[in-house]
Symmetry: none
Subunit: 140 residues, 2 copies
DNA sequence: AGAAATTTGTCCGTATGTATC
DNA sequence: AGATACATACGGACAAATTTC
C-alpha cells in the first residue's frame, strides 16, 4: 500500500473520524477510546500515525489520556447521560474480524466489524449467547 | 544492536515456534503458555515483540488470553471442526470460550462450547453472521 | 480479609530501515 | 531533500485482573 495523503495528512483524517464518533455518540463521553492497537488494526495505520491523531484530539480537549489506562472521551456538558447500565443483556461494540468472518464478508482479517451481543437467560442462568456481526462499511 | 528484520520478522518466528509447541504437544491444550516474562527471557525479545507474537496466535485461535492470568493453549483450529471446501450457510462446531463467554456461562476460558453459525446473505453478498454459543452440557 | 506477587493491558518515548509523495 | 507514513523493535512506567500468601 502506497502512501497517498492527498489533501490532509492521514493522522488528521483519523483524528476527524474519531472526533465525529465522539460527537455523534458512537463513542460515549466518559468511555475509553479503542486502544492504540485496536486503532492500528482498524485504520491500518502505524502506531506513530495513530498517536499523532490522538495527540490532535488531546490538544483539542476531545479526549484525556491516562498513562496505562487509555484515552477517555471528554464529557460534554450537554451530553452528560450517566446511563449506568449494570449489565445489559444486549450491547453493541466494535471488534476485529477473525479470519473466517473476513472471508465471509470479503474483507481483510483485522478489519473492524460491528458486533451485537444478546444474552439469553433462562431461570437466571445464561442459556445462550448470540452474536451478530456486520461489516462496518456503509458511508463513512 | 540495530533492528534488522531481514526476511521474517522476529515476532512471526516466535509465533511459529510457539504454535509448533502447541501442535506437537509440548504445550498441551488447556494449559497456560509461559508468561510473557518467561518468553522475554527465553527468546531475549522485548515485551512488545512477545505480545505481538501471542497476538498472532490469538488471531488464529491457537490461544485464548485472559487478563491477569495468561494465555491458554486451545485445541488446534483445524481439529475443532470439519474441514470445509465451501462455506455453508449454517454449521455447528466446537470452539473455545473466550473470557467473556466463560464469565457469562460460569465456566473457565478455554473450555469447549458449542457454536452454531448462520450466514445471512442478501443479493449474494453476506449481510451478517450470527453466532450462537451454548455450553456443552445443556441442549443435548 | 487483606496485602503482596504475578500477569496481562495500555500508554510513552525512542530508534532503525524502507517507501512514497 | 524533506515530509509523511509504514513496519519492526527496544525499554520503561502505570493500570487492572488474577492468584498466592
Amino acid at each position: 500500500m502506497p502512501t497517498p495523503h492527498y489533501g490532509q495528512p492521514r493522522y488528521r483524517a483519523i483524528a476527524a473520524e474519531l472526533r465525529d464518533r465522539i460527537e455523534n455518540g458512537a463513542i460515549r463521553p466518559g468511555t475509553l477510546l479503542p486502544a492504540e492497537s485496536a486503532l492500528i488494526a482498524e485504520f491500518r495505520a502505524s502506531r506513530g500515525t495513530i498517536r499523532q491523531a490522538i495527540a490532535v484530539l488531546r490538544e483539542a480537549r476531545f479526549v484525556v489520556t491516562e498513562h496505562g489506562r487509555g484515552s477517555i472521551a471528554s464529557l460534554r456538558p450537554h451530553e452528560i447521560g450517566p446511563e449506568k447500565d449494570s449489565e445489559p443483556d444486549a450491547k453493541h461494540r466494535e471488534t476485529v474480524a477473525d479470519p473466517e468472518l473476513a472471508t465471509l464478508f470479503g474483507i481483510e482479517a483485522g478489519t473492524v466489524v460491528i458486533e451485537r451481543q444478546n444474552v439469553i437467560r433462562r431461570n437466571g442462568a445464561v442459556e445462550k449467547v448470540v452474536r451478530i456481526y456486520r461489516p462496518l462499511q456503509a458511508g463513512t
